[in-house]
């Protein structure tokens, strides 16, 4: 339970949803447009969106082609240059094993971003789906799903992760890098979805009695349409807020798992691994913690900003 979880972030919607989404709205003279079209038009005008998107693209490039950014060798070190200061060859200096910190930070982007982003996406999908179903349908479906979520929520994060990962990723198992990453992602999803589910469910609960939903139902809209067109856009906001911040805590969670010896293994490099390796040397070489942490914060920040921009564009109430 190490992740700062929340069972519910209900953003109680403004009492009177004055302008309803998707249904041809106040901009009556324009061609009626879908939700996404509206959002895109909104987004294009926001500098926040462009800045964060650019940074994310850079990080994604870094993850895909690290050698473009760093010529150095991230894996092999030589003790003779252990803890050497920054120089022209290694901009951020060398770590205890004499490895190029700059190269490691760049190469670390891949594992960190892939694990964190995929876990968040998976958690949002699983938790969000369960939450919508249980919130919208209510009744016994809600009861069962909620109680199952309760059971999972009771499992301490460290315990669950140790069991799942040692069972499938114990020492001696020759999983490929991709398999290990997959396992780490799956265990993060399995242990975190209940939070998102509670969040989504409470959001749906407070929205489904809203007038526009009642109206849509009265007009004969099917459940699928109501969920997709009306509920989802109105309930997405808290999920996006939570999800983008979750990217940050998942990068940290991945570090904890690696630290315990059940997560990613060398020669895979990740920011989390770098931070936990560097912590004993924080008084001698603070850069070992500072640089990966700075990259981590930059990445998280750009995801949060992007999430914020998208949320504002999607949220009908903020128009």
């Amino acid at each position: 339970m190490s992740d700062p979880s929340t069972a519910s972030i209900v953003s109680t919607p403004a009492a009177q949803p004055t302008d309803t989404p998707a249904t041809p709205g106040p901009q009556g003279n324009e061609k009626p447009r879908g939700l996404l079209g509206d959002a895109w038009r909104d987004l294009r005008r926001k500098p926040l969106f462009w800045i964060s998107a650019t940074i994310i693209v850079i990080f994604l490039l870094m993850a895909a082609f690290p050698s473009l950014f760093a010529p150095g060798d991230p894996v092999n070190g030589a003790l003779s240059r252990s803890l050497n200061k920054a120089s022209g060859d290694a901009w951020f200096g060398y770590d205890l094993q004499g490895r190029d910190v700059y190269a490691r930070v760049i190469y670390g982007a891949r594992a960190s971003i892939v694990v964190a982003v995929l876990s968040v996406v998976g958690t949002l999908l699983v938790g969000g789906f369960m939450g919508i179903i249980s919130g919208y349908l209510g009744g016994w479906v809600d009861t069962i799903l909620s109680r199952v979520a309760d059971v999972f929520f009771g499992v301490p994060f460290v315990l669950g992760a140790i069991v799942i990962l040692t069972t499938f990723n114990g020492s001696g198992s020759s999983n490929s890098k991709a398999e290990i990453m997959g396992l780490v992602i799956i265990s993060l999803i399995v242990l975190s979805w209940p939070v998102v589910m509670r969040l989504m469910r409470s959001s749906v609960l407070s929205t489904k009695e809203a007038d526009y939903i009642v109206a849509a139902r009265a007009l004969g809209a099917g459940s699928g349409r109501i969920i997709l067109k009306h509920l989802l856009p109105n309930c997405l906001a808290p999920l996006l807020v939570y999800g983008t911040i979750m990217v940050g805590s998942f990068i940290g969670a991945e570090a904890t798992l690696s630290f315990l010896g059940v997560g990613l293994k060398s020669p895979v490099v990740s920011w989390g691994i770098m931070i936990s390796e560097g912590k004993d040397f924080i008084r001698v070489a603070p850069g070992l913690v500072f640089f990966p942490a700075a990259f981590l914060v930059a990445a998280v920040l750009s995801f949060v900003m992007l999430g914020e921009a998208v949320r504002e564009a999607l949220d009908p109430k903020l128009r």
Partner: protein, 546 residues
């Protein structure tokens, strides 16, 4: 052998140390006798894993307290010299097989009862009786009749069969002669036996022990040492105080000792610097880095070496590691000096001998495979036919071994040109389980700390077939024969000579590779004016003066 499993510990072993004479005491001159008399100190400790019963304690947290609470027949001097009598008046033998042990008259347990020969015999019988499940039970294996009181499980502990009940409840080799005398008959002559008697497994137990459950006793232990037990609050504090009726050499100079139980060394270190803690045995890695501890502590810091060695052992049951040339190649490709300098900031010495050189009887510099010689290493690797696949070095990641194991793997990779990396196994329990089951698929870290100061302890358990810690299943009949001769040699000198020969054979085979000798960096508060560390690197609380 005691092992510390503190997750953040820099070393897996609490260092056991014979101290270099100059490094063993701190402070100049004597303390203020008046201040010492009723003085109290707070020292660093770790929550003991088990109730405090001497023969059932194998880890440092509890072992340290046991060592203070009990005084054995012999004691190991702080300067690492030969063992001398403590509670024993005399230990006599003609043939190293039958020992007559006479104990000093009039010493008392903390409950006021007198320490008699019977207390030793009963305590040893209890530990040697296998259904009692004592962790140190096998220490009594030398004594005649052990095979009757201690039965092995025919298919191991995991198998379906259970061990048969022992046919005898008491060791036939133990006999009480009178109140102060008892006789020990060994199964075979063992010159080193008296040396072993200072280990905590051999402590006497008061009559009260046999009237209660061991775990109840262990929560409020009654010893016979210079301090007595006051209280134990789990995870918080163990309180000890001077035993005023103590009549042996090492009397307490101060009164109260509070052992504060920490989970994290960094917390304890911060307390030490803030003068909230008076003594810390091992300063944490984060303070060793860049020699920060020297500037933090100044003359309050102590730097000592300890008779423990870190090794990398080969799983010789794995076909790929059966060629001695390959093993030697790996050993020669490791630059121990560089690891010592860069990873440990000089606080560990590069290993150059098989037994730790601080151990009596050990020959320094007898490990020819411990040199750094990448050229020969490469050549040997070629002669051995190379190495296919990836060489994975394993360690337990609940203790800080990652740094040096990573460095070793990298050096092997660079210098031999083979694929190599280090991999952590989550817990010490899983790590040991794989080792016990002979399922390791690559070289793995090990550490050896002597149980008692003699070179015998560095050969028999590690390199003799069937040795208690010969986990890699190394077997060389020549070594076995030589070690057997050495063990039953009539005198310690002859025994040491013979062990040196056995080690020469071991050196040819390289069944494991010594990497570094442990060092210990301790610190104390301004309050303490004088202190000594004992032969196992623990604080000798009887030496503390304020």
């Amino acid at each position: 052998m005691r092992v510390s499993k503190r997750a953040t510990s820099a070393i897996a072993l609490s260092a056991a140390a014979a101290l270099v004479a100059s490094g063993c005491s701190s402070g100049d001159g004597d303390g203020d006798a008046a201040a010492s008399k009723d003085g109290a100190i707070v020292i660093h400790g770790v929550q003991p894993e088990n109730p405090l019963v001497p023969s059932n304690t194998t880890e440092t947290g509890g072992g340290k307290v046991i060592d203070w609470l009990f005084t054995g027949l012999v004691e190991y001097p702080n300067d690492g010299g030969a063992p001398r009598n403590a509670l024993a008046e005399s230990i006599d033998t003609k043939d190293s097989k039958v020992f007559t042990i006479k104990i000093k008259k009039g010493t008392k347990f903390h409950d006021g009862t007198e320490v008699k020969a019977k207390n030793f015999v009963d305590a040893w019988n209890w530990a040697a009786y296998s259904p009692n499940g004592a962790q140190n039970g096998s220490f009594f294996a030398d004594i005649a009749g052990f095979d009757k009181t201690y039965t092995e499980d025919p298919d191991g502990a995991d198998g379906p069969q259970k061990a048969p009940m022992p046919t005898a409840k008491e060791l036939s080799g133990l006999k009480v002669i009178d109140e102060q005398t008892f006789e020990v008959t060994l199964a075979a002559p063992t010159a080193v036996f008296p040396t072993k008697l200072g280990y905590s497994a051999f402590m006497p137990l008061p009559d009260a022990f046999f009237t209660m459950k061991p775990e109840e006793f262990g929560k409020k232990p009654i010893g016979n040492g210079p301090v007595k037990f006051v209280s134990w609050q789990d995870n918080v504090l163990i309180k000890l105080t001077r035993f005023d009726d103590y009549s042996l050499r090492d009397k307490m100079k101060i009164k109260d000792v509070d052992v504060k139980l920490y989970q994290d060394e960094t917390a304890a270190y911060a307390d030490l610097l803030a003068n909230n803690l008076d003594f810390m045995e091992v300063v944490p890695t984060s303070a060793l880095a860049g020699d920060k501890w020297k500037t933090d502590l100044g003359d309050r810091g102590l730097n000592t070496v300890t008779p423990s060695t870190a090794l990398i052992a080969f799983p010789i049951y794995d076909k790929r590691f059966q060629n001695p040339k390959l093993r030697r190649a790996v050993s020669l490709s490791i630059n121990r000096q560089e690891i010592s300098d860069k990873i440990f900031f000089g606080t560990r010495k590069p290993a150059d001998s098989w037994a730790n050189p601080l151990t009596p009887g050990a020959k320094p510099g007898n490990c020819t495979a411990c040199k750094f010689d990448p050229t020969t290493a490469k050549q040997l690797l070629t002669e051995a036919g190379g190495f296919t696949g990836e060489m994975v070095f394993y360690y337990n990641s609940d203790s800080s071994h990652k740094d040096w194991m990573d460095a070793v793997a990298q050096q092997v990779k660079t210098n031999l040109g083979i694929e190599a990396r280090a991999e952590g196994i989550p817990t010490f329990a899983v790590f040991r389980q794989n080792i016990n089951a002979h399922k390791m698929t690559g070289p793995y870290r090990a550490a050896w700390q002597q149980d008692y100061p003699d070179v015998e302890n560095w050969v028999n358990p590690l390199y003799v077939k069937g040795g208690s810690s010969n986990d890699g299943l190394y077997s060389n009949p020549e070594v076995d024969t030589l070690a057997k001769q050495a063990s039953s040699a009539p005198s310690l000198e002859a025994s040491h000579e013979a062990f040196a020969k056995a080690i020469e054979k071991v050196d040819q085979d390289v069944p494991s590779i010594p990497i570094y000798f442990y060092g210990q960096q301790s610190g104390h508060s301004e309050k303490i004016k004088k202190l000594e560390l004992n032969n196992v690197g623990e604080l000798d609380i009887t030496s503390v003066e304020l």
